[in-house]
Protein backbone atom coordinates (compact mmCIF):
# COMPACT_ATOMS: atom_id res chain seq x y z
CA UNK A 1 0.00 0.00 0.00
CA UNK A 2 1.21 3.49 -0.77
CA UNK A 3 2.47 5.17 2.38
CA UNK A 4 0.13 8.09 1.71
CA UNK A 5 -2.96 5.97 1.27
CA UNK A 6 -4.27 6.29 4.85
CA UNK A 7 -4.02 10.06 4.90
CA UNK A 8 -5.69 10.42 1.52
CA UNK A 9 -8.41 8.02 2.62
CA UNK A 10 -9.01 10.13 5.71
CA UNK A 11 -9.04 13.29 3.62
CA UNK A 12 -11.73 11.98 1.30
CA UNK A 13 -13.95 10.73 4.12
CA UNK A 14 -13.57 13.98 6.07
CA UNK A 15 -14.48 15.98 2.96
CA UNK A 16 -17.64 13.95 2.52
CA UNK A 17 -18.50 14.42 6.16
CA UNK A 18 -18.07 18.17 5.74
CA UNK A 19 -20.53 18.15 2.84
CA UNK A 20 -23.12 16.30 4.89
CA UNK A 21 -22.58 18.15 8.15
CA UNK A 22 -24.39 21.33 7.21
CA UNK A 23 -27.72 20.97 5.54
CA UNK A 24 -30.00 23.60 6.94
CA UNK A 25 -28.85 26.73 8.67
CA UNK A 26 -31.21 29.52 9.68
CA UNK A 27 -30.01 32.80 8.14
CA UNK A 28 -29.55 34.14 11.66
CA UNK A 29 -26.67 31.76 12.09
CA UNK A 30 -24.92 32.22 8.76
CA UNK A 31 -22.51 34.78 10.13
CA UNK A 32 -21.74 33.02 13.42
CA UNK A 33 -21.28 29.72 11.61
CA UNK A 34 -18.93 31.31 9.14
CA UNK A 35 -17.05 32.96 11.95
CA UNK A 36 -16.94 29.75 13.99
CA UNK A 37 -15.62 27.63 11.17
CA UNK A 38 -13.17 30.39 10.37
CA UNK A 39 -11.79 29.98 13.88
CA UNK A 40 -11.54 26.24 13.31
CA UNK A 41 -9.51 26.79 10.16
CA UNK A 42 -6.92 28.18 12.56
CA UNK A 43 -6.17 24.49 13.18
CA UNK A 44 -3.12 25.14 11.05
CA UNK A 45 -1.64 26.27 14.39
CA UNK A 46 -0.83 22.57 14.83
CA UNK A 47 1.33 22.63 11.72
CA UNK A 48 2.88 25.91 12.79
CA UNK A 49 3.86 24.56 16.20
CA UNK A 50 5.20 21.40 14.60
CA UNK A 51 7.52 23.59 12.54
CA UNK A 52 9.19 25.07 15.61
CA UNK A 53 12.08 22.65 15.73
CA UNK A 54 15.63 23.11 16.98
CA UNK A 55 18.64 22.21 14.89
CA UNK A 56 17.57 23.94 11.71
CA UNK A 57 18.53 27.27 10.23
CA UNK A 58 17.27 30.46 11.87
CA UNK A 59 15.21 31.38 8.86
CA UNK A 60 13.03 28.31 9.19
CA UNK A 61 12.33 29.33 12.76
CA UNK A 62 11.39 32.85 11.70
CA UNK A 63 8.83 31.30 9.36
CA UNK A 64 7.61 29.01 12.15
CA UNK A 65 7.27 31.97 14.51
CA UNK A 66 5.27 33.98 11.98
CA UNK A 67 3.08 30.97 11.22
CA UNK A 68 2.31 30.52 14.93
CA UNK A 69 1.56 34.23 15.36
CA UNK A 70 -0.82 34.37 12.39
CA UNK A 71 -2.54 31.11 13.27
CA UNK A 72 -3.02 32.24 16.87
CA UNK A 73 -4.55 35.53 15.74
CA UNK A 74 -6.97 33.48 13.67
CA UNK A 75 -7.78 31.11 16.53
CA UNK A 76 -8.11 33.57 19.41
CA UNK A 77 -9.69 36.36 17.39
CA UNK A 78 -12.01 33.98 15.58
CA UNK A 79 -13.36 32.29 18.68
CA UNK A 80 -13.78 35.49 20.62
CA UNK A 81 -15.62 37.24 17.82
CA UNK A 82 -17.89 34.20 17.43
CA UNK A 83 -18.53 34.14 21.16
CA UNK A 84 -19.49 37.77 21.12
CA UNK A 85 -21.97 37.18 18.33
CA UNK A 86 -23.49 34.16 20.03
CA UNK A 87 -23.66 35.84 23.42
CA UNK A 88 -26.29 38.15 22.03
CA UNK A 89 -28.51 35.17 21.19
CA UNK A 90 -28.29 33.72 24.66
CA UNK A 91 -29.82 36.73 26.34
CA UNK A 92 -32.83 36.33 24.13
CA UNK A 93 -33.52 32.64 24.56
CA UNK A 94 -33.80 32.76 28.32
Amino acid sequence: MDQYFPIIFVFVIASLLGFELITKVPPTLHTPLMSGSNAISGITIVGAIASARLGHGWFSQVLAFLAIVFAMINVVGGYMVTDRMLASFKKKSK
Binding site: Q3, A14, L16, I40, A48, R53, S60, L66, S93
Partner: protein, 467 residues
Protein backbone atom coordinates in the same frame (compact mmCIF):
# COMPACT_ATOMS: atom_id res chain seq x y z
CA UNK B 1 -1.39 10.97 21.85
CA UNK B 2 -3.07 10.16 18.57
CA UNK B 3 -6.27 9.51 20.46
CA UNK B 4 -6.27 13.06 21.73
CA UNK B 5 -6.29 14.15 18.09
CA UNK B 6 -9.28 11.92 17.50
CA UNK B 7 -11.08 13.48 20.45
CA UNK B 8 -10.28 16.98 19.17
CA UNK B 9 -11.63 16.03 15.74
CA UNK B 10 -14.89 14.79 17.25
CA UNK B 11 -15.25 18.00 19.21
CA UNK B 12 -14.89 19.98 15.98
CA UNK B 13 -17.43 17.85 14.14
CA UNK B 14 -20.07 18.17 16.82
CA UNK B 15 -19.14 21.79 17.38
CA UNK B 16 -19.88 22.66 13.75
CA UNK B 17 -23.07 20.62 13.81
CA UNK B 18 -24.34 22.42 16.90
CA UNK B 19 -23.52 25.80 15.39
CA UNK B 20 -26.30 25.27 12.87
CA UNK B 21 -29.11 25.61 15.39
CA UNK B 22 -29.97 28.60 17.52
CA UNK B 23 -30.52 26.53 20.64
CA UNK B 24 -27.21 24.74 20.58
CA UNK B 25 -24.92 27.22 18.90
CA UNK B 26 -23.25 28.49 22.03
CA UNK B 27 -22.35 25.07 23.34
CA UNK B 28 -21.23 24.18 19.83
CA UNK B 29 -18.72 26.97 19.77
CA UNK B 30 -17.59 26.03 23.25
CA UNK B 31 -16.95 22.48 22.08
CA UNK B 32 -14.92 23.59 19.13
CA UNK B 33 -12.91 25.95 21.35
CA UNK B 34 -12.20 23.03 23.64
CA UNK B 35 -11.17 20.92 20.65
CA UNK B 36 -8.76 23.63 19.55
CA UNK B 37 -7.23 23.85 23.02
CA UNK B 38 -6.82 20.10 23.07
CA UNK B 39 -5.22 20.09 19.61
CA UNK B 40 -2.71 22.75 20.62
CA UNK B 41 -1.89 20.96 23.86
CA UNK B 42 -1.41 17.67 22.04
CA UNK B 43 0.98 19.01 19.43
CA UNK B 44 3.01 20.76 22.14
CA UNK B 45 3.23 17.47 24.08
CA UNK B 46 4.21 15.58 20.92
CA UNK B 47 6.90 18.15 20.19
CA UNK B 48 8.14 18.15 23.77
CA UNK B 49 8.60 14.41 23.64
CA UNK B 50 10.50 14.63 20.38
CA UNK B 51 13.23 16.56 22.17
CA UNK B 52 13.76 19.11 19.39
CA UNK B 53 11.01 21.50 20.45
CA UNK B 54 11.91 25.15 20.07
CA UNK B 55 10.15 26.45 23.18
CA UNK B 56 11.21 30.03 22.61
CA UNK B 57 9.53 30.27 19.23
CA UNK B 58 6.39 28.47 20.35
CA UNK B 59 5.84 30.40 23.57
CA UNK B 60 6.66 33.75 21.98
CA UNK B 61 4.48 32.98 18.96
CA UNK B 62 1.50 31.93 21.05
CA UNK B 63 1.77 34.96 23.32
CA UNK B 64 2.20 37.48 20.52
CA UNK B 65 -0.44 35.95 18.24
CA UNK B 66 -2.89 35.30 21.06
CA UNK B 67 -2.39 38.83 22.37
CA UNK B 68 -3.03 40.41 19.00
CA UNK B 69 -6.09 38.21 18.47
CA UNK B 70 -7.41 39.19 21.88
CA UNK B 71 -7.01 42.89 21.25
CA UNK B 72 -8.59 42.64 17.80
CA UNK B 73 -11.59 40.70 19.08
CA UNK B 74 -12.13 43.00 22.06
CA UNK B 75 -11.83 46.22 20.17
CA UNK B 76 -13.95 45.36 17.17
CA UNK B 77 -17.37 47.01 17.31
CA UNK B 78 -20.33 44.86 16.31
CA UNK B 79 -20.62 46.78 13.06
CA UNK B 80 -17.19 45.75 11.90
CA UNK B 81 -17.42 42.08 12.69
CA UNK B 82 -17.90 40.98 9.07
CA UNK B 83 -14.69 42.73 8.07
CA UNK B 84 -12.94 41.21 11.05
CA UNK B 85 -13.93 37.68 10.12
CA UNK B 86 -12.48 38.31 6.67
CA UNK B 87 -9.19 39.57 8.07
CA UNK B 88 -8.84 36.76 10.59
CA UNK B 89 -9.47 34.28 7.83
CA UNK B 90 -6.61 35.78 5.84
CA UNK B 91 -4.26 35.22 8.77
CA UNK B 92 -5.21 31.53 8.87
CA UNK B 93 -4.45 31.19 5.18
CA UNK B 94 -1.02 32.77 5.37
CA UNK B 95 -0.17 30.61 8.39
CA UNK B 96 -0.74 27.48 6.28
CA UNK B 97 1.37 28.88 3.47
CA UNK B 98 4.18 29.62 5.95
CA UNK B 99 4.01 26.07 7.29
CA UNK B 100 4.56 24.74 3.78
CA UNK B 101 7.45 27.15 3.19
CA UNK B 102 9.08 26.28 6.50
CA UNK B 103 8.79 22.61 5.64
CA UNK B 104 11.05 23.13 2.61
CA UNK B 105 13.74 24.32 5.00
CA UNK B 106 13.03 21.77 7.71
CA UNK B 107 13.01 18.67 5.56
CA UNK B 108 16.42 17.03 5.96
CA UNK B 109 16.00 15.02 2.77
CA UNK B 110 15.87 18.22 0.73
CA UNK B 111 19.20 19.40 2.11
CA UNK B 112 21.04 16.91 -0.05
CA UNK B 113 22.05 18.55 -3.29
CA UNK B 114 20.15 17.12 -6.23
CA UNK B 115 17.21 15.94 -4.15
CA UNK B 116 14.03 17.90 -4.80
CA UNK B 117 10.36 17.78 -3.91
CA UNK B 118 9.77 15.43 -6.84
CA UNK B 119 11.84 12.77 -5.07
CA UNK B 120 9.65 12.80 -1.98
CA UNK B 121 6.63 11.33 -3.68
CA UNK B 122 3.58 12.69 -5.46
CA UNK B 123 1.69 13.82 -2.38
CA UNK B 124 4.27 16.25 -0.91
CA UNK B 125 5.23 17.40 -4.39
CA UNK B 126 1.66 18.45 -5.11
CA UNK B 127 0.65 19.51 -1.61
CA UNK B 128 3.52 21.92 -1.01
CA UNK B 129 2.96 24.34 -3.88
CA UNK B 130 -0.81 23.88 -3.53
CA UNK B 131 -0.70 24.97 0.12
CA UNK B 132 1.31 28.06 -0.76
CA UNK B 133 -1.02 28.92 -3.63
CA UNK B 134 -4.28 28.48 -1.71
CA UNK B 135 -2.91 30.00 1.48
CA UNK B 136 -1.63 33.14 -0.23
CA UNK B 137 -4.78 33.57 -2.31
CA UNK B 138 -6.75 33.33 0.93
CA UNK B 139 -4.54 35.96 2.55
CA UNK B 140 -4.70 38.62 -0.11
CA UNK B 141 -8.25 37.81 -1.21
CA UNK B 142 -9.44 38.17 2.37
CA UNK B 143 -7.77 41.50 2.76
CA UNK B 144 -9.29 42.84 -0.43
CA UNK B 145 -12.64 41.64 0.92
CA UNK B 146 -11.82 43.37 4.20
CA UNK B 147 -11.14 46.60 2.34
CA UNK B 148 -14.35 46.35 0.34
CA UNK B 149 -16.41 45.58 3.41
CA UNK B 150 -15.05 48.63 5.16
CA UNK B 151 -16.31 50.65 2.24
CA UNK B 152 -13.17 51.22 0.24
CA UNK B 153 -13.58 51.35 -3.50
CA UNK B 154 -11.01 49.05 -5.01
CA UNK B 155 -11.10 48.69 -8.74
CA UNK B 156 -9.36 46.19 -10.92
CA UNK B 157 -6.67 47.82 -13.07
CA UNK B 158 -7.82 45.93 -16.15
CA UNK B 159 -11.21 45.36 -17.68
CA UNK B 160 -12.78 42.95 -20.12
CA UNK B 161 -10.63 40.55 -22.09
CA UNK B 162 -7.44 42.19 -20.86
CA UNK B 163 -8.39 41.12 -17.36
CA UNK B 164 -8.89 37.52 -18.39
CA UNK B 165 -5.56 37.57 -20.18
CA UNK B 166 -3.89 38.89 -17.05
CA UNK B 167 -5.45 36.20 -14.87
CA UNK B 168 -4.53 33.50 -17.33
CA UNK B 169 -0.98 34.83 -17.49
CA UNK B 170 -0.60 34.88 -13.72
CA UNK B 171 -2.12 31.41 -13.54
CA UNK B 172 0.33 30.02 -16.09
CA UNK B 173 3.25 31.68 -14.32
CA UNK B 174 2.14 30.06 -11.06
CA UNK B 175 2.01 26.63 -12.69
CA UNK B 176 5.45 27.24 -14.16
CA UNK B 177 6.92 28.30 -10.82
CA UNK B 178 5.29 25.39 -9.02
CA UNK B 179 6.79 22.98 -11.54
CA UNK B 180 10.20 24.56 -11.13
CA UNK B 181 9.87 24.34 -7.34
CA UNK B 182 9.05 20.65 -7.54
CA UNK B 183 11.61 19.63 -10.15
CA UNK B 184 14.69 21.49 -9.02
CA UNK B 185 17.21 19.75 -6.81
CA UNK B 186 19.03 22.89 -5.76
CA UNK B 187 18.10 24.52 -2.50
CA UNK B 188 18.90 27.98 -3.77
CA UNK B 189 16.59 27.60 -6.76
CA UNK B 190 13.90 26.21 -4.51
CA UNK B 191 14.07 29.30 -2.34
CA UNK B 192 13.75 31.64 -5.31
CA UNK B 193 10.88 29.62 -6.75
CA UNK B 194 8.96 29.52 -3.48
CA UNK B 195 9.26 33.25 -2.86
CA UNK B 196 8.11 34.06 -6.39
CA UNK B 197 5.31 31.53 -6.11
CA UNK B 198 4.08 33.10 -2.89
CA UNK B 199 4.20 36.61 -4.35
CA UNK B 200 2.38 35.68 -7.54
CA UNK B 201 -0.24 33.68 -5.64
CA UNK B 202 -0.83 36.72 -3.48
CA UNK B 203 -1.25 38.86 -6.58
CA UNK B 204 -3.72 36.34 -7.98
CA UNK B 205 -5.85 36.59 -4.83
CA UNK B 206 -6.00 40.36 -5.22
CA UNK B 207 -6.92 40.17 -8.91
CA UNK B 208 -9.61 37.55 -8.35
CA UNK B 209 -11.48 39.33 -5.58
CA UNK B 210 -11.07 42.90 -6.80
CA UNK B 211 -13.67 42.83 -9.59
CA UNK B 212 -16.34 41.32 -7.33
CA UNK B 213 -18.86 43.84 -6.07
CA UNK B 214 -19.06 44.86 -2.44
CA UNK B 215 -22.54 43.42 -2.02
CA UNK B 216 -21.21 39.98 -2.84
CA UNK B 217 -18.41 40.12 -0.31
CA UNK B 218 -20.20 37.92 2.27
CA UNK B 219 -20.24 35.09 -0.23
CA UNK B 220 -16.59 35.72 -1.08
CA UNK B 221 -15.60 35.71 2.59
CA UNK B 222 -17.45 32.45 3.07
CA UNK B 223 -15.69 30.94 0.07
CA UNK B 224 -12.30 32.16 1.24
CA UNK B 225 -13.08 30.65 4.61
CA UNK B 226 -13.52 27.37 2.83
CA UNK B 227 -10.18 27.95 1.07
CA UNK B 228 -8.36 28.50 4.32
CA UNK B 229 -9.68 25.12 5.43
CA UNK B 230 -8.37 23.56 2.23
CA UNK B 231 -5.01 25.25 2.75
CA UNK B 232 -4.93 23.74 6.24
CA UNK B 233 -5.69 20.28 4.88
CA UNK B 234 -2.93 20.61 2.27
CA UNK B 235 -0.53 21.77 4.96
CA UNK B 236 -1.48 18.57 6.78
CA UNK B 237 -0.33 16.57 3.76
CA UNK B 238 2.92 18.52 3.68
CA UNK B 239 3.84 17.79 7.28
CA UNK B 240 2.02 14.46 7.48
CA UNK B 241 -0.47 15.37 10.19
CA UNK B 242 -3.88 13.66 10.12
CA UNK B 243 -5.59 16.17 12.40
CA UNK B 244 -4.80 19.02 10.03
CA UNK B 245 -5.97 17.00 7.05
CA UNK B 246 -9.24 15.99 8.64
CA UNK B 247 -10.19 19.32 10.20
CA UNK B 248 -9.02 21.28 7.17
CA UNK B 249 -11.15 19.11 4.89
CA UNK B 250 -14.13 19.52 7.21
CA UNK B 251 -13.91 23.29 7.19
CA UNK B 252 -13.18 23.27 3.47
CA UNK B 253 -16.26 21.37 2.42
CA UNK B 254 -18.69 22.61 5.07
CA UNK B 255 -17.61 26.13 4.15
CA UNK B 256 -18.44 25.37 0.54
CA UNK B 257 -21.92 24.24 1.53
CA UNK B 258 -22.44 27.34 3.63
CA UNK B 259 -21.33 29.43 0.67
CA UNK B 260 -23.94 27.71 -1.45
CA UNK B 261 -26.66 28.27 1.12
CA UNK B 262 -25.76 31.95 1.20
CA UNK B 263 -25.82 32.18 -2.59
CA UNK B 264 -29.26 30.67 -2.56
CA UNK B 265 -30.44 33.29 -0.11
CA UNK B 266 -29.40 35.92 -2.61
CA UNK B 267 -30.90 34.02 -5.52
CA UNK B 268 -27.61 33.87 -7.36
CA UNK B 269 -25.34 31.09 -8.41
CA UNK B 270 -21.81 30.88 -7.13
CA UNK B 271 -20.41 31.13 -10.63
CA UNK B 272 -22.44 34.25 -11.16
CA UNK B 273 -20.99 35.84 -8.03
CA UNK B 274 -17.41 34.92 -8.86
CA UNK B 275 -17.53 36.02 -12.44
CA UNK B 276 -19.13 39.22 -11.30
CA UNK B 277 -22.69 39.57 -12.52
CA UNK B 278 -23.47 42.42 -10.18
CA UNK B 279 -19.75 42.28 -9.67
CA UNK B 280 -18.67 44.91 -12.10
CA UNK B 281 -18.57 48.15 -10.26
CA UNK B 282 -20.86 49.94 -12.61
CA UNK B 283 -21.93 52.95 -10.69
CA UNK B 284 -24.78 54.05 -12.89
CA UNK B 285 -24.48 57.55 -14.21
CA UNK B 286 -27.92 58.47 -13.04
CA UNK B 287 -27.26 57.04 -9.56
CA UNK B 288 -27.53 60.47 -8.04
CA UNK B 289 -30.12 61.92 -10.37
CA UNK B 290 -33.33 62.05 -8.44
CA UNK B 291 -36.45 64.03 -9.20
CA UNK B 292 -39.40 64.62 -6.94
CA UNK B 293 -37.96 63.59 -3.65
CA UNK B 294 -40.04 64.33 -0.59
CA UNK B 295 -38.17 64.78 2.60
CA UNK B 296 -39.48 64.99 6.13
CA UNK B 297 -38.26 65.59 9.66
CA UNK B 298 -38.73 63.49 12.79
CA UNK B 299 -41.78 65.53 13.74
CA UNK B 300 -43.77 64.59 10.64
CA UNK B 301 -42.72 60.98 10.98
CA UNK B 302 -43.96 60.93 14.58
CA UNK B 303 -47.33 62.27 13.44
CA UNK B 304 -47.60 59.56 10.81
CA UNK B 305 -46.73 56.94 13.37
CA UNK B 306 -49.32 58.25 15.78
CA UNK B 307 -52.16 56.79 13.80
CA UNK B 308 -50.41 53.70 12.52
CA UNK B 309 -51.82 50.29 13.35
CA UNK B 310 -49.00 48.31 11.87
CA UNK B 311 -45.36 49.28 11.53
CA UNK B 312 -42.53 47.35 9.99
CA UNK B 313 -38.89 48.28 10.46
CA UNK B 314 -36.45 47.36 7.72
CA UNK B 315 -32.94 47.55 9.16
CA UNK B 316 -29.86 47.78 6.97
CA UNK B 317 -26.21 48.53 7.25
CA UNK B 318 -26.93 52.15 8.19
CA UNK B 319 -28.46 50.90 11.43
CA UNK B 320 -25.25 49.09 12.21
CA UNK B 321 -23.03 52.03 11.37
CA UNK B 322 -25.03 54.41 13.52
CA UNK B 323 -25.26 51.84 16.35
CA UNK B 324 -28.96 52.58 16.40
CA UNK B 325 -30.16 49.11 17.42
CA UNK B 326 -31.10 50.26 20.92
CA UNK B 327 -33.02 53.33 19.81
CA UNK B 328 -34.91 51.35 17.24
CA UNK B 329 -36.00 49.02 20.00
CA UNK B 330 -37.05 51.98 22.14
CA UNK B 331 -39.20 53.36 19.34
CA UNK B 332 -40.68 49.92 18.69
CA UNK B 333 -41.62 49.52 22.36
CA UNK B 334 -43.18 52.95 22.39
CA UNK B 335 -45.30 52.19 19.35
CA UNK B 336 -46.34 48.86 20.77
CA UNK B 337 -47.55 50.53 23.92
CA UNK B 338 -49.70 52.71 21.71
CA UNK B 339 -51.25 49.60 20.27
CA UNK B 340 -49.45 49.19 16.98
CA UNK B 341 -48.21 45.86 15.70
CA UNK B 342 -44.46 46.18 15.29
CA UNK B 343 -42.28 43.84 13.31
CA UNK B 344 -38.85 43.81 11.74
CA UNK B 345 -38.35 42.61 8.19
CA UNK B 346 -35.00 40.95 7.81
CA UNK B 347 -33.63 40.60 4.32
CA UNK B 348 -31.22 37.66 4.11
CA UNK B 349 -28.34 39.85 3.03
CA UNK B 350 -29.17 43.09 4.81
CA UNK B 351 -26.05 44.57 6.31
CA UNK B 352 -22.72 43.30 5.27
CA UNK B 353 -23.28 39.66 6.02
CA UNK B 354 -26.19 37.27 6.13
CA UNK B 355 -27.60 37.34 9.62
CA UNK B 356 -25.82 40.61 10.39
CA UNK B 357 -29.09 42.30 11.36
CA UNK B 358 -30.19 39.42 13.56
CA UNK B 359 -26.97 39.64 15.52
CA UNK B 360 -27.32 43.37 15.87
CA UNK B 361 -30.97 43.39 16.94
CA UNK B 362 -30.37 40.51 19.31
CA UNK B 363 -27.87 42.76 21.04
CA UNK B 364 -30.67 45.12 22.02
CA UNK B 365 -32.93 42.24 23.10
CA UNK B 366 -35.49 42.57 20.34
CA UNK B 367 -37.94 39.69 20.88
CA UNK B 368 -37.30 36.86 18.53
CA UNK B 369 -40.87 36.62 17.27
CA UNK B 370 -40.73 40.19 15.97
CA UNK B 371 -37.99 39.32 13.50
CA UNK B 372 -39.60 38.20 10.27
CA UNK B 373 -37.72 36.77 7.36
CA UNK B 374 -38.30 38.13 3.90
CA UNK B 375 -40.45 35.32 2.53
CA UNK B 376 -42.74 35.38 5.53
CA UNK B 377 -43.35 39.10 5.62
CA UNK B 378 -43.36 40.09 1.97
CA UNK B 379 -47.09 39.47 1.51
CA UNK B 380 -47.88 41.66 4.50
CA UNK B 381 -46.45 44.93 3.26
CA UNK B 382 -49.62 45.88 1.41
CA UNK B 383 -51.53 45.77 4.70
CA UNK B 384 -48.98 47.84 6.54
CA UNK B 385 -49.44 51.47 7.47
CA UNK B 386 -45.87 52.58 7.88
CA UNK B 387 -42.61 50.98 6.87
CA UNK B 388 -39.49 52.54 8.32
CA UNK B 389 -36.33 51.74 6.44
CA UNK B 390 -33.30 52.35 8.57
CA UNK B 391 -30.17 52.60 6.49
CA UNK B 392 -31.05 49.95 3.93
CA UNK B 393 -31.00 50.54 0.21
CA UNK B 394 -30.34 47.77 -2.28
CA UNK B 395 -32.50 45.21 -0.47
CA UNK B 396 -35.58 47.41 -1.00
CA UNK B 397 -34.73 48.61 -4.49
CA UNK B 398 -37.61 47.88 -6.88
CA UNK B 399 -35.10 47.99 -9.74
CA UNK B 400 -34.43 44.37 -8.84
CA UNK B 401 -37.79 43.45 -10.36
CA UNK B 402 -36.77 44.67 -13.77
CA UNK B 403 -35.56 42.22 -16.36
CA UNK B 404 -32.06 43.58 -16.57
CA UNK B 405 -29.72 45.69 -14.48
CA UNK B 406 -27.07 45.01 -11.90
CA UNK B 407 -29.40 43.62 -9.27
CA UNK B 408 -32.09 42.14 -11.52
CA UNK B 409 -33.57 39.02 -10.02
CA UNK B 410 -32.35 39.63 -6.49
CA UNK B 411 -35.23 39.04 -4.10
CA UNK B 412 -36.21 42.24 -2.34
CA UNK B 413 -38.55 43.34 0.39
CA UNK B 414 -41.72 44.70 -1.21
CA UNK B 415 -41.78 47.81 0.94
CA UNK B 416 -43.21 50.00 -1.82
CA UNK B 417 -46.59 48.32 -1.33
CA UNK B 418 -47.02 49.78 2.12
CA UNK B 419 -49.18 52.86 2.64
CA UNK B 420 -46.26 55.02 3.66
CA UNK B 421 -42.57 54.30 3.36
CA UNK B 422 -40.13 56.28 5.45
CA UNK B 423 -36.51 56.04 4.48
CA UNK B 424 -33.96 57.11 7.05
CA UNK B 425 -30.75 57.61 5.18
CA UNK B 426 -28.02 60.16 5.41
CA UNK B 427 -28.02 61.04 1.74
CA UNK B 428 -29.18 59.91 -1.66
CA UNK B 429 -25.89 58.16 -2.22
CA UNK B 430 -26.30 54.80 -3.91
CA UNK B 431 -25.97 51.57 -1.93
CA UNK B 432 -23.51 48.80 -2.53
CA UNK B 433 -24.80 47.94 -5.93
CA UNK B 434 -24.07 51.51 -6.97
CA UNK B 435 -27.41 52.11 -8.62
CA UNK B 436 -30.31 54.47 -8.32
CA UNK B 437 -33.23 53.46 -6.14
CA UNK B 438 -36.57 54.37 -7.78
CA UNK B 439 -38.29 53.75 -4.44
CA UNK B 440 -37.11 57.14 -3.24
CA UNK B 441 -39.09 58.89 -5.97
CA UNK B 442 -42.36 57.14 -5.28
CA UNK B 443 -45.36 59.07 -4.07
CA UNK B 444 -45.71 57.14 -0.84
CA UNK B 445 -42.06 57.58 0.09
CA UNK B 446 -40.68 60.11 2.55
CA UNK B 447 -36.98 60.62 3.04
CA UNK B 448 -35.44 61.54 6.38
CA UNK B 449 -31.93 62.72 5.65
CA UNK B 450 -30.34 62.07 9.02
CA UNK B 451 -28.01 59.64 10.67
CA UNK B 452 -30.10 56.63 11.75
CA UNK B 453 -29.54 57.15 15.45
CA UNK B 454 -30.20 60.88 15.35
CA UNK B 455 -33.35 60.39 13.33
CA UNK B 456 -34.74 57.65 15.55
CA UNK B 457 -33.94 59.57 18.72
CA UNK B 458 -35.75 62.53 17.25
CA UNK B 459 -38.77 60.43 16.38
CA UNK B 460 -38.84 58.86 19.84
CA UNK B 461 -38.82 62.31 21.38
CA UNK B 462 -41.61 63.57 19.15
CA UNK B 463 -43.77 60.49 19.66
CA UNK B 464 -43.45 60.93 23.42
CA UNK B 465 -44.55 64.53 23.16
CA UNK B 466 -47.63 63.61 21.17
CA UNK B 467 -49.01 61.62 24.03
Amino acid sequence: MDYLYLLATLLFVFGIKRLTSVKTCQSGNRMSEFGMGLAILTIVLVMARSGVINWGVIVAGILVGGGIGLVIAKRTPTTQMPEMVAALNGFGGVASALVAMADLLLNRALEVDGVGLKDLGVVPAVANPATILVGMVTLTGSFVAYGKLSGKKLTHPFAGSKRHLLHAGVGLAIIGLATWLVMTGSHAQMTIAVVLLALLSGALGVFLVMPIGGADMPVVVSLLNSYSGVAGAFAGFVIGNELLVVVGALVGTSGLILTQIMCKAMNRSLGNVLLGGMGEETVAKDAKDYKSIKSAGPEEVAMLLDGAQSVIFVPGYGLAVAQAQHVVRELADLLQKKGAVVRYAIHPVAGRMPGHMNVLLAESDVPYDQLWEMDRINGDFKNTDVVIIVGANDVVNPAAREASGPIAGMPILDVDQARTVIVIKRSLAPGYAGIKNPLFEMDNCLMVFLDAKEALEGIVKEVKELK
